[in-house]
């Protein structure tokens, strides 16, 4: 494991391991508790494979009651807990702790209700993202957020990470599509947030649980809204001689009042890798490639494809192709969707970054990244959710070369700091986890982080749920609660009174 510092293991917990395992077996019978080293191996890391750690024990509950009892037991015995869905997190959110229980939610894999009249699905958290769409597609519906990992990742993990997908510019992230959940707190208390209705009658607790990376509670049920599948979709493939031109084109499309269903950009190395892999017919003589997808009624899509094409030509497009069949549209996407594995073919390892920038700063950010490639001696391929400024630079490296992983990580950190410097953020959809934890101060000062932790303190005052993630230092809640009142001040010295 490279330099990552995790909370020190609690020896008094590890010494009680046998008794703890026995107590957990009493709550979750049979194969629901895994304590053998070999059997725990599959859980030692998530999608951020550079970090590995065997947990103290793995528990796989399958009822809310069991989750509640496990958490209550762990709370009473001061045992840390790490929730896990499918383990596809790219930020190490599900990385186990040596003295912690890894709480796998995979057995919560049933869809509880399909309610077409209210256009919602109620699912257990271990149901995969794609399975929700599969369950309703015959009726003409789908679940809109579509992370590329959708065959594998779970809806519980999506809620925890507030995941996005290529269609979130038009249809929103997970948070805009979740209506309710059942949540078990670290104390074992169970609470229902939201439901089949919209918004909250009080504080928006559902809104803060979404994207909280498993630090506030364990999600045991999720209610999502489903949408009618658009009548049709078409994509245009546009090549540009420079990323500046492509960026300007994206701005002009949005400026013209068009919000495409998806708008993706790739740079030359990404185009090359994808084309070699998938043969999608991408032009190889361009510096930037845009895929713009429009969906909706045929008449609207055809109308907007024309307008997008006009704008693209005016922006200096050198190639332009609009899909004329569903087959061709899928082919255009095949290259983009395979961009990660395609890059995996040209490099033994790659490291996927996830910053967001104000789109207008793209040329500047790309230029700085080119300079950094020289400094670090590593190459980068860029795929970009261009509509919303979410950049995925893939840093190519070879972990077998001593020092290269560390260089890739340092390079990645510098890219993310650059994103913040130009007005952007550290992560657009993959989460902070352990990966970006220590970079949080680049974006937030101490007061900012303290206020975030005050929310954490309301849900999990002892910091037992997924510690070591998101926050560079977890302050004790008592310390955060202290007030520093500046006594003896004159009230409102310079403020006009009326």
């Amino acid at each position: 494991m490279s330099r990552l510092r995790m909370p020190e293991a609690d020896r008094t917990v590890l010494e009680r391991r046998e008794a703890i395992v026995a107590a957990l077996r009493a709550i979750v019978p049979g194969e629901g508790v895994i304590a053998g080293e070999r059997e725990m191996r599959p859980y030692e890391s998530d999608g951020l494979t550079a970090y590995r750690q065997l947990p103290m024990v793995v528990v796989l509950p399958d009822t809310t009651e069991q989750v509640s009892r496990v958490l209550r037991y762990c709370h009473e015995n001061r045992i840390r807990v790490v929730p896990r869905g499918a383990g596809t997190s790219l930020s190490g959110g599900a990385l186990p702790l040596a003295d912690g229980v890894l709480l796998g939610m995979g057995k919560f894999n049933r869809i509880r209700e399909i309610d077409l009249a209210n256009r919602v699905v109620v699912a257990e958290p271990g149901v995969t993202n794609l399975a929700i769409t599969r369950a309703v597609e015959d009726a003409g519906f789908y679940y809109a957020p579509d992370p590329s990992s959708q065959i594998a990742c779970t809806i519980g993990g999506n809620v925890a990470e507030n995941s996005g997908g290529v269609h979130c510019l038009k249809y929103g992230l997970t948070t805009n599509n979740v209506l309710g959940c059942e949540l078990v707190l670290m104390t074992g208390e169970v609470v229902r947030l939201g439901g089949k209705h919209l918004d909250s009658g009080g504080y928006d607790l559902l809104g803060v649980v979404t994207g909280s990376e498993g630090l506030l509670g364990v999600v045991t049920e999720v209610t999502v809204r489903i949408l009618r599948k658009p009548e049709t979709a078409r994509a245009v493939l546009v090549g540009f001689p420079s990323s500046e031109d492509a960026g300007a084109c994206v701005a002009r499309i949005i400026g013209a009042g068009i919000i495409p269903a998806g708008m993706e950009m790739m740079d030359r190395p990404a185009i090359q890798a994808a084309e070699d892999f998938v043969h999608a017919g991408y032009p190889l003589d361009v510096e930037a490639l845009l895929i713009v997808e429009l969906d909706g009624p045929r008449a609207e899509v055809d109308h907007l494809i024309e307008r997008v094409s006009e704008i693209a030509r005016a922006c200096g497009a050198t190639t332009l192709k609009a899909s004329t069949s569903e087959e061709e549209r899928l082919l255009f996407w095949a290259g983009r969707k395979a961009a990660f594995p395609a890059v995996g073919r040209i490099s033994p390892d790659y490291y996927c970054m996830d910053g967001t920038i104000p789109r207008a700063r793209l040329p500047q950010v790309l230029a700085r990244m080119r300079e950094m490639q020289q400094t670090y001696g590593l190459r980068v391929a860029n795929v970009f959710h261009a509509g919303d400024g979410n950049l995925h630079p893939l840093i190519l490296y070879d972990a077998n070369n001593p020092g290269e992983l560390e260089r890739a990580e340092a390079f990645g950190a510098e890219i993310l700091k650059l994103c913040v410097e130009v007005g952007g953020v550290l992560t657009g959809e993959h989460g902070v986890g352990v990966e970006k934890r220590d970079l949080m101060p680049a974006m937030f000062d101490e007061a900012d982080l303290a206020h975030q932790q005050r929310l954490k303190c309301a849900f999990d005052a002892e910091g037992l749920l997924n510690p070591g993630k998101v926050f560079p230092t977890l302050h004790r809640c008592a310390e955060l609660g202290r007030m520093h009142v500046r006594g003896g001040r004159i009230a409102f010295p310079d403020i006009p009174r009326f």
Binding site: V191, D199, G201, L455, G488
Partner: protein, 409 residues
Amino acid sequence: MADAIKPREATEVREAVEAAIAEGKTLEVVGQGSKRAIGRAAQWDLTLDLSGLSGVTLYEPEELVLSARAGTPLAEIEALMAEHRQQLAFEPIDYGPIFGAAAGRGTLGGVLAANLSGPRRLVAGAARDHFLGFSAVSGRGERFKAGGRVVKNVTGYDLAKLAAGSWGTLAVLTDVTVKVLPRPETEESLLLFGLDDRAAIAALSRAMGSTGEVSGAAHLPAAAAAKTVVASLAGGRAVTALRLEGVPPSILHRRNVLQSLLKPCGELAVLPEEASRTLWRSIRDVTPFAAAVTGLERPLWRISTAPVQGPEIAARIAAGTDVSILYDWAGGLLWALLPPSDDAGAGLVRAAVAACGGHATLIRAPASARATVSVFEPPDPVAAMLTKRIKQNFDPQGVLNPGRMYAGV
């Protein structure tokens, strides 16, 4: 009226909160005061008037973002966005008519703190879904920021969601950033006549499940319909309305889709652009139940529920009293106008919501009622505990709008 403090800078907001903490005073946090009559009737020592924190600080139409100081008038922001054919897609309600006050008031900070929305909530979300980031002063007298100025961001907890709908009880927003979106090129509405509540909601549900891409779905029973721009078309009947927005070829196509889908439901009419805008503004601002129409004494409830439960909730309330309803969000939002009573109908409304799911807020009622019944939906015990702890952690001395949402919060 309490003494007012009117800061001009975020640092002055901090000083005001610090001083209130030191002096053990409470603050009423207001923008232009357009929603002042909403919430529990509580008393505060001083008014913190944020209307002096005004001005758009960043607007990049092509990046879909706008930042402004929290006290910036909404009207100013809407005018600026209109120049670029953009809008706040969540269509915030203007509470002026309901309270018999001037229309067009309110600040961007207030819109967000109250998590306003309108008919388009159904497809485009509420204020919460467009609130990207903020700077604020918490009840601890500390300045902090959250979120960012880009439309896609999962860095740290989504405190903008917490601030949205917290009614100024946790922190005083000083600077806010929102997502803005293009305005649809044009719109029209399809109307159905004479349906009863259940048939209307069933028709709306079919429409929402179709490829018609409806961006507004409301049902106005006869009494409500008679007080809108479609009164003469309705001729004393109920009106069920579906809004179509977008580019003309798309609207034409979707109109056909919906017409063939809804033909079995009864007589259909098309309402052209201008009248359609007028109608949806009335629905957004609930003008059939405006103070000018009903007086200020009749309690008005806002109920959010699962769409098909809408008529059931209405029926349960109607079994106990004489209620008028206006349905929005395909049946998921009910505006319920009740006769005056000591508890403003809270017993009936809350029992109906408890049976059917959802939440109810007492939007308009005399202060005496708002002092005795809970205005916001009472949270279950665990949610109530979380609510109290969050308040305690952000505002330990209860300086900011204490008691506005719940006693002790």
